[in-house]
């Protein structure tokens, strides 16, 4: 980028809001999906909506593609820079602007972390429900862009359920107020359309969201099984009984080993572990939990443990949430997948994954949100062995196709981004994709916001995927990618 333009950007955001050094720019070359990397021309970190607007207007004037970025924890390459483009980070806009407890609403800047919201309201008994595993570092704007889920969305829903209003800057610099503080604003549900648009519609500068009251009681039960299929059957039976747990998670042996190694959650030593969390009124949770144990036993559980105290419960969840990163301890490399299937297809699909895994000669660790059929198979491999990375990618793709064939989806919460755009035609017809493009062109007719993402065949020259090489500070053990 020419010096005149850089100084023009600098005049908007100042030295502290501009990254241009080659080594610093490399920090932004990829997000949580490290398979692809592109070094951006410049990284801009505006500190206010006004600065954001000015930055975007300048990009618009100069026809520079923009990639918005939160904390870079996304797992589908949504924040992967595009060649010749800038990255616009929202992390300096990280203030909680307003907490309105009587109405259970919070207004935040886009760079506030997911956990920070809950931290701000938990003393008064409230929480922000979407809880992606990266919640300690990921930003709310990133959550909005990806429509993030988490372990508790079986009962509580995903990000879109909680977003009431968004201030967004469109690619030409127009600032719009979508939605509001009250529900059901007249007109098209533009907030609903924007959530999950993966940075392709515009950049968020302000978010109004809903928080909810913490339930009176929360209990989590761990049940140890000899197979994931048995654990899956228990999930179906719990639901068939009319119960509506806050979360139901299954981890298989490999995932358990990894989590145990990382955080010593003291899980039972088993082939498959089912976590069932119930919440609600104390009396109801007590009574219903008495039924969950026997249901699990009928399905083959040989050990049942109930975490009653908050500390025990947090330890159980810490292991689960650390599972992805922890797999790094048992395998030099791994791919995280994110497919969804109808819950009843669980036993069959798990069987098929086992078969595919054996055929490929690669291990697959399974961690999944069993309540909503959201699978996270982790394909383990060693890229130092010739051909293994390619085999791992093929296996991951085969698993996705399996999910679609079972009536499911290629992504439940990680998004399409760069990673899965070639799979969109597996799920959607040309007419479906065309309708999406129409919406995109209404928001961003100039194709400047995160261009080339989400849809196949969109200007491949903007990206040249290169195998990931760790950043020097990672090699030095000073930092870790989430």
């Amino acid at each position: 980028m020419n010096a005149r333009l850089v100084s023009e950007f600098r005049s908007i955001v100042g030295d502290v809001g501009l990254v241009s050094g080659p080594e610093q720019l490399r920090t932004y070359e990829c997000d949580g999906l490290t398979l692809f990397r592109v070094v951006p021309d410049l990284v801009l970190l505006p500190a206010s909506a006004e600065e954001m607007q000015a930055v975007v207007k300048l990009c618009y004037r100069e026809n520079i593609p923009m990639v918005a970025r939160g904390s870079g924890t996304g797992l589908s390459g949504g924040a992967l820079p595009v060649k010749g483009g800038v990255v616009i980070s929202v992390t300096r806009m990280n203030r909680i602007l307003e907490v309105d407890l009587p109405n259970a609403r919070v207004v935040v800047e886009p760079g506030v972390t997911n956990s920070a919201i809950t931290a701000a309201v938990s003393p008064r008994g409230y929480f922000y429900a979407p809880d992606p595993s990266s919640q300690v570092v990921c930003t709310v704007a990133g959550n909005v862009a990806e429509n993030s889920g988490g372990a508790h969305c079986f009962k509580y829903g995903v990000t879109t359920t909680y977003i009431l209003g968004l201030d967004v800057v469109l690619s030409d610099g127009t600032l719009l107020h979508l939605g509001g503080t009250t529900m059901d604003q007249p007109g098209y549900d533009l907030v609903g359309a924007f959530v999950g648009s993966e940075g392709t519609f515009g950049i968020i500068t302000r978010i109004t969201l809903r928080i909810i009251k913490k339930p009176e009681t929360t209990q989590v039960l761990m049940a140890a099984f000899d197979s994931s299929s048995e654990a899956g059957a228990a999930v179906s039976n719990i639901i068939a009984c009319g119960m509506f747990p806050a979360a139901m998670e299954i981890m298989d042996r490999l995932a358990l080993e990894a989590a145990e190694a990382a955080v010593h959650a003291n899980y039972p030593d088993c082939q498959a572990l089912l976590l069932v969390e119930l919440d609600g009124s104390a009396r109801e949770v007590e009574l219903l939990m008495e039924k969950v144990g026997p249901i699990c036993k009928e399905c083959g559980a040989w050990e049942i443990r109930l975490a009653k105290s908050e500390a025990e419960r947090m330890a159980v969840w810490k292991g689960r949430k650390a599972a992805f990163a922890a797999v790094g301890r048992i395998s030099p490399n791994y791919l995280v997948q994110d497919g969804v299937i109808p819950r009843t297809a669980l036993p069959r699909v798990l069987g098929e994954i086992d078969r595919l895994s054996a055929d490929a000669g690669l291990r697959v660790a399974n961690v999944f949100h069993a309540g909503d059929g959201n699978l996270h198979p982790l394909v383990l491999y060693d890229r130092r062995i010739a051909g293994e990375e390619e085999r791992a990618m093929t296996l991951a793709e085969d698993i996705l196709r399996l999910c679609v064939e079972a009536g499911g989806s290629i992504t439940g919460e990680h998004g399409i981004g760069e990673e899965k755009k070639m799979f969109m035609p597996v799920m959607f017809s040309p007419a479906d994709l065309d309708a999406m493009q129409r919406l995109r062109s209404a928001f961003d007719p100039y194709d400047l916001c995160n261009p080339s993402k989400m849809f196949p065949g969109t200007d491949a020259k903007l990206q040249t995927p290169v195998a990931y090489e760790p950043h020097p500070i990672e090699l030095a053990g000073l930092a870790q990618r989430y």
Partner: protein
């Protein structure tokens, strides 16, 4: 023969060829929308037929009014044109109740009652109770984003829809979303379709997530002396650990304010909830009451031909202010007002007065106050003559041009419900 009649004749032949002559009939006076009389009513039998009808209409500039059960035809501006009503009555099947997955796939013309009766066989329900479920259809409920009193527990209808199939004006049939409860592949066109009043396309099918039917429903009522006290109690309940599936306030006059709460847990916990409710309510006594109070919204629409019915949306902490504003503006003029507000801050309000001009003024004044509170007032139904004097949707903020661009992309010929939506979309 006038140009309009010629067009109508040609349209009649073309449309008849698509759906078969037995599914196209001349419109009757009761098919009129805000007194705009269509020529005919067409009832396609498949999504493909709906799409073909739309493609023809878009190419020939023939306007279409999509219609489900016709329970909310009073919503929106008077249509600029209404050549044909497109009835979804033949697309009325429950396609698949995947009870193990707690999902159901239905055609858009299926009534809510029919849907509920099918899923009830496996102890499940759609967690929404829109008005007039015996007539209201899935498509109509989605197009108008109607949900009901269960919303405070299960979320809005948008939160219960997993995917839709939709016929577009270019003749394509698209699907958005899917059949699984978690899915972020592609843009959320489902959200765009919900509440778009059929102005972007015609929803032909939907997939919903379901919930178990609770075993022990119970409703309690308390009478409150003032709107301020009622608001205080509502906020205390919202801030409590009570687990309820309905929280509603009904105010007819300043001295007739009731709060209703519905619990639907297991029988063993009901007593416990009631005791806790008593502690929160303090001096206000909650007593057992019949479950039909949850039909109060719907009752507002009974014999409402000359009434004005509005949907209001305020913050829960503004419900008292909303009541006070309503009472203040209606007190002196002899306007009869009934307000049914949910704990979510969404409310329906019915105003009755002999003098329509007076009602229009009251409404303008009220809307002014509510919009100052960042709330909204939209007219759900009113006498046609009033529609020229008030903006039924209220003030639309800076996103209107974007909405118009979206409309342009999906229905460039403006044949779908022309003029009825916000800003004349």
């Amino acid at each position: 023969m006038s140009q309009g009649e010629e067009q109508s004749n040609e349209a009649w032949i073309e449309l008849s060829a698509i759906v078969g002559p037995e599914h196209l009939r001349p419109a009757r006076p009761e098919d009129a929308v805000d007194a705009v009389q269509p020529a005919g009513v067409i009832a396609p039998g498949t999504a493909q037929e709906v799409a073909q009808v739309l493609r023809y209409c878009a190419s020939a500039g023939v306007s279409i009014i999509p219609r489900g059960g016709g329970t909310q035809l009073g919503l929106g501006n008077r249509p600029r044109k209404a050549d044909f009503v497109l009835s979804l009555e033949r697309l009325n099947r429950v396609i698949e109740h995947a009870w193990g997955d707690m999902t159901v796939t239905v055609e858009a013309g299926c009534t809510i009652d029919k849907l509920q009766s099918v899923v009830r066989e496996h102890g499940q329900r759609l967690g929404a109770d829109p008005m007039q479920p015996e007539r209201a259809t899935v498509g109509g409920v989605l197009a108008t984003a109607e949900s009901g009193t269960l919303r405070i527990r299960y979320g809005a209808i948008r939160d219960l829809v997993l995917g839709v199939e939709m016929a577009l004006a270019d003749g394509s049939v698209i699907k958005a979303g899917g059949k699984v409860v978690k899915n972020v592949a592609g843009y959320d066109l489902t959200k765009l379709a919900i509440g778009s009043l059929g102005t972007l396309g015609v929803i032909t099918r939907a997939v919903f997530r379901l919930h178990p039917i609770p075993v022990a429903p119970a409703t309690f009522a308390a009478m409150l002396p003032t709107a301020a006290e009622a608001e205080k109690l509502l906020l205390a309940i919202l801030d409590s650990h009570l687990v309820y599936t309905g929280l509603q306030m009904r105010a007819r006059h300043e001295d007739q304010i009731f709060i209703y709460i519905r619990f639907e847990g297991i029988p063993e916990s009901l007593e416990d909830q009631y005791v806790k409710l008593g502690r929160i309510a303090g001096a206000h006594q909650f007593v057992d009451c019949a479950g039909d109070v949850w039909m109060e919204r719907q009752k507002l629409f009974v014999n409402a031909g000359s009434s004005v019915i509005c949907k209001c949306s305020v913050l829960p902490s503004q419900i008292g202010s909303l009541c006070d504003a309503i009472f203040q503006h209606t007190r002196k003029d002899g306007v009869v007002v009934t307000l049914v507000a949910q704990g979510t801050g969404l409310a329906e309000m019915r105003l009755d007065a002999a003098d329509l001009h007076l009602l229009t003024n009251v409404l303008h004044a009220l809307r002014g106050e509510v919009e100052r509170l960042a709330g909204t007032v939209t007219v759900a139904q009113c006498p046609v003559t009033m529609k020229s004097e008030l903006e039924v949707w209220g003030t639309i903020r800076d996103a209107l041009p974007l909405m118009q661009r979206i409309k342009q992309k999906f229905d460039p010929g403006q044949v779908l419900n022309p003029g009825r939506f916000v800003g004349g979309i």
